[in-house]
């Protein structure tokens, strides 16, 4: 079983202004790492860089000893976006099989079989032939998790996967993620749902204004050392 190893050295990233300031952090042997912080604290950018979706302006990032711009690494990354981000013209099933057939060299039958088994895991087998616009937001987001799983990634990144969902659908999606605990995958995720962080993560990283302020085992949420994290934890539930 893989356990997650994250190594970030002097990472900075700039869009129009610098959004990540000289971050460094080393972690090993974690299963589920949560990024906490207000909107705009840099969580999404950091996730995208760790997933290899964006190239950092400077610094070095390796995950499980692989550089994030290594094509081999990128092939084994699962990413779940804020809004489901399924291809809207394809059914849930085709969203998965297209990727497996065209970029992973699966035959049609193997692709369908793999896609269906992942959709089943997310309790979506009866929705497989529907288009994203014809299922609920929660189902679409679960389908995008199934899509991320289907390429058999080592690590799955989730970028506030429930921020566009109502509380009931939020539970629906987060319960589905919790059920993946024993899937052998590692998770790095950003979310505003603190109960989920407590239940699911074994490590938290608290960010503010593009800096890592505090990080440690999930328990630090109950007794933050820094003023910034204390004030954040006091405001959220």
């Amino acid at each position: 079983m893989v356990t997650l190893k994250i190594d970030i050295k002097t990472l900075s990233h700039t869009y129009d202004i610098e959004v990540l300031h000289n971050l460094s952090i080393q972690l090993e042997g974690k299963k589920a790492v949560a990024l906490l912080g207000q909107s705009g604290s840099g969580k999404s950018t950091l996730l995208r860089i760790m997933a290899g979706l964006e190239k950092p302006t400077s610094g070095e990032v390796t995950i499980n000893d692989q550089a994030v711009d290594d094509p081999e690494y990128r092939k084994a990354v699962g990413f779940v976006f804020q809004s489901h981000n399924l291809f809207p013209h394809l059914t849930l099933l085709d969203n998965i099989t297209l990727i497996l057939e065209k970029t992973r060299g699966f035959t049609k039958e193997a692709a369908v079989k793999c896609a269906m088994s992942n959709l089943e895991k997310l309790k979506l087998d009866d929705q497989a032939h529907k288009a994203p616009r014809n299922v609920s937001g929660g189902q679409a987001q679960r389908a995008s998790i199934a899509r991320a799983l289907s390429i058999d990634p080592d690590v799955i990144f989730l970028d506030e996967p429930t921020s566009s969902l109502d509380p009931i659908l939020t539970n629906d999606v987060l319960n589905a993620v919790e059920d993946l605990r024993d899937s052998g995958k590692d998770f790095v995720f950003a979310t505003h749902v603190m109960s989920f962080v407590r239940d699911f993560s074994d490590y938290v990283i608290f960010m503010e204004n593009g800096n890592i302020i505090e990080h440690g085992p999930t328990e630090i949420m109950d007794s933050p050392k820094t003023e910034a994290m204390q004030s954040f934890m006091a405001k959220v539930r």
Partner: protein
């Protein structure tokens, strides 16, 4: 009130109005006068459809080129798009057609007025075509492109399986709307003696003096082309929209 009933009533109100109008014009409503001129109108319809189709395809090509120009890295190209679009938006279609046929064409030794008229129509519709290409392509979000990169699609695969299938679906309804605009706009080509539907009505009118019959026949024929087209667009949107 339910939807079908409302529509039936709306149609009835319109029909009642037209019945009143036509009853007032009853003395001039001898559709028998059309006898012997059927072919004139048939030819008019056929030419209207052919010309409109040429203008549709032509303006799709020029509209796509203008879209590419508007997306160019070079400031000069983008400025060209802005200036061109402003000029077209400020020009009535009839004026554009006349200028093309009598000013710009002859300046390049082109005296085929029909050709220059259709060219004018194409030029006129070009910015509108650019707009629909722009909105279709912009509807594919940055996040979708990110997902395509993440999963490792090649450029060809991105276009073949993800971008083009979406763009075509988004493009079709406004494209057909533009086609309808072109069909209606093509009536203006009659000023260049292009033998389209409006011209057919004009010839019929001036030989038979049956003005009301000529106008009503032409109107009905235009509607018979454009309304099924717009109904098809609605159907397409219901069936295929994303």
């Amino acid at each position: 009130m339910n939807k079908i009933l409302s529509h039936v009533l709306a149609v009835l109100v319109f029909v009642a109005f037209m019945v009143y109008v036509l009853l007032q014009q009853a003395a001039f409503l001898d559709f028998g006068r059309l006898q012997g001129y059927e072919w004139l109108f048939v030819e008019g319809i056929i030419n209207t459809i052919i010309l409109s189709f040429i203008a549709l395809v032509g303006s799709m090509i020029t509209g796509f080129l203008l879209f590419l120009i508007s997306k160019s890295k070079f400031e000069l190209f983008r400025a060209f798009d802005t200036v061109f679009t402003e000029i077209i938006y400020g020009t009535p279609l009839l004026v554009m057609i006349m200028i093309m046929a009598f000013v710009i064409g002859p300046a390049f030794n082109i005296y085929q007025r029909a050709f220059m008229g259709v060219t004018g129509l194409i030029v006129y519709i070009t910015p509108y075509m650019k707009n629909i290409f722009r909105s279709a392509f912009s509807s594919i979000t940055d996040e979708q492109f990110m997902a395509m990169d993440l999963f490792g699609f090649t450029s060809y695969q991105k276009y073949r399986y993800i971008i083009v299938p979406q763009v075509v679906r988004i493009l079709m309804p406004p494209l057909m709307n533009n086609f309808s605009l072109i069909i209606k706009g093509s009536a203006l080509l009659n000023v260049l003696s292009v033998r389209e539907l409006f011209y057919a009505h004009h010839i019929f009118k001036s030989t038979t003096y049956a003005t009301v019959v000529a106008l009503m026949t032409m109107w009905v024929l235009y509607i018979l082309i454009t309304i099924p087209l717009s109904q098809f667009i609605r159907y397409f949107e219901r069936r295929w929209s994303l």
